[in-house]
């Protein structure tokens, strides 16, 4: 039937606005001044709410840190187990000063970055394959569902035996977590591309490759980028678990090591480093997303 329904309905919304008398000087300067004042008041209100939110956030953080510190020093909680902020800060200061922290950070960041970038790329490539060959996608559908619901971390020991105690095993654990879910998500987006846009390309004599290049891929671009963001989180889980298992280097190894020697200050300080690095990475990808997905897209 009307398979072009999904397209932009050609309603004449903005035409009326553009053809109508657009104010002009005879509208009176006081009207313009009035609008400006209303806008300024709106902006002031926005800013003051923003400032209030930020100060409450900082206050909460400070209160948490202070309470933790007090609880640790006054032995309300076991400091051996839960440590406290100044002890963690001292640990971080010494390990970053003597340089023992940085190799671990470097290894983990490299593994994670490789994990989410490769996971997204491979997942997108597999999704393209499924889109290109509908028969293949029908055949693999149940396998994908089963594999996706499997706790992939359980495959870790197999990867380590097969690929050795190192980067490759950790990457494999990470990819096993990211690739399938990426494939499923992006394939669904490929398949749901607006029928009207597809019809236009077909009517203009486009080939399947042109259809993919001109419509399917660009229409899915925002979804691919947001999948990249989701994969940052998954990759961190995969890498930390992988490092637990391999136990040679990296932030996951530091946690396991701290746990084995009963140094919980090391465990918690490593967690702080992970939180900081993961946030930075996530923000970086979010920034990339903003840059790539702007342009002429409609705000939809």
């Amino acid at each position: 039937m009307s398979d072009d329904k999904a397209c932009h309905p050609a309603g004449g919304d903005k035409e009326a606005a553009s053809s109508e008398d657009n104010g002009g000087p005879h509208g009176g300067d006081d009207r313009a001044g009035w609008l400006k004042a209303l806008h300024a008041a709106y902006r002031r209100r926005e800013r003051s709410i923003g400032a209030a939110v930020l100060s409450v956030q900082l206050l909460l953080l400070a209160a948490f840190v202070l309470l933790w510190e007090a609880a640790g020093r006054l032995k309300w909680i076991d400091p051996l187990l839960f440590s406290y902020p100044t002890k963690i800060a001292a640990q971080l200061a010494s390990s970053s000063a003597d340089g023992t922290l940085w190799p671990h950070v470097g290894v983990t960041v490299a593994e994670t970055a490789a994990g989410f970038v490769l996971g997204t790329l491979i997942g997108t490539a597999l999704a393209a394959l499924l889109w290109w060959f509908p028969f293949v996608s029908k055949v693999f559908d149940p396998y994908l569902v089963v594999f996706n619901s499997l706790p992939k971390v359980a495959l870790g020991p197999i990867f380590i035996v097969a690929m050795g105690q190192g980067f490759l095993s950790i990457l494999s654990v990470t990819l096993s977590m990211t690739v399938i879910v990426t494939t499923i998500g992006i394939y669904n987006r490929f398949r749901d591309s607006e029928p009207g846009l597809v019809k236009v390309v077909r009517l203009l004599g486009g080939t399947r490759l042109q259809l993919f290049r001109l419509v399917i891929l660009p229409a899915s671009f925002p979804v691919i980028i947001s999948t990249l963001k989701v994969n940052v989180g998954l990759a961190w889980v995969g890498v930390i678990v992988g490092e637990f298992l391999v136990a040679k280097e990296g932030l996951g190894y530091l946690i396991i090591y701290g746990f084995q020697v009963f140094n919980f200050t090391l465990v918690l300080s490593t967690l702080v480093v992970i939180a900081a690095t993961a946030t930075l990475m996530y923000q970086g990808v979010a920034l990339l997303e903003k840059k790539l997905v702007s342009g002429g897209r409609e705000p939809s």
């Binding site: 072009d4 397209c7 050609a10 309603g11 919304d13 077909r202 004599g205 042109q210 002429g296 409609e298």
Partner: protein, 265 residues
Amino acid sequence: MDDKSPMLELRGVSHVYVGRKGASLAVDRMELAVGHGEFISLVGPSGCGKTTVLSLLAGLFPPAAGQVLLGGKPVTGPSAKVGYMLQQDCLLPWRTIRDNAGLGLDIAGRRAAAERNRVEMLLEEVGLAGTEGKYPGELSGGMRQRVALTRTLAPEPDVLLLDEPFSALDMHIKMQLEDLVQATLRKLGKTAVLVTHDLAEAAAMSDRVVVLGRNPGRIRKEIAVPEAIRRLAPTEARKHPSFQALFDALWVELNAGEREGGSHE
């Protein structure tokens, strides 16, 4: 192309949609011929197979039976000779107006400077000068539909298939576009098939109106538009003294068709 044969021809064409739930006859043994430079309209109740007929003419899929001919030769698939305009503009939101208008040329690999210039000139002709670098989201519905018209005209098709291209627009923009489309097609000497459910639009724009009956789609009646009305631009045609009579004749046919078809549903 053979000039004696009609530009477009349907010979005993039937079309069946086959799906999981069964097979349904959408178009039944249709005979239709459209001459070079002729502008015809297809009107009929919703679901009577108008879009199916256009899709067959465009070569989107082959008919279940019968022959579809373009310039005397069987249609085997979409071709640059046939342009198609949909109810929705279906512009690619991530492409500029210029790139959207030139989509067909890109697909055909026609990237010469002369082709680019022609797109710019077409955009100017439909009143879109100065919007070339903008994106579809920045344009009104009427302007976007003009871009869609340009995109359809840019590969220089001989035939235009128009599937309710004005039905989603406000009244005055719709009438502006009707005039624009008719004038443009007439100037370029294109053959056109317009699908519409607006009888006044059909009467005002075309040389001949084909009324379809419903379920399955077949031709009920063909009504030629009098020369006096045909000459005029659509907005003027609507004011012509004999326009009402033409409209009434179409109205009677359409109603009769709907009653007959409705009985066996």
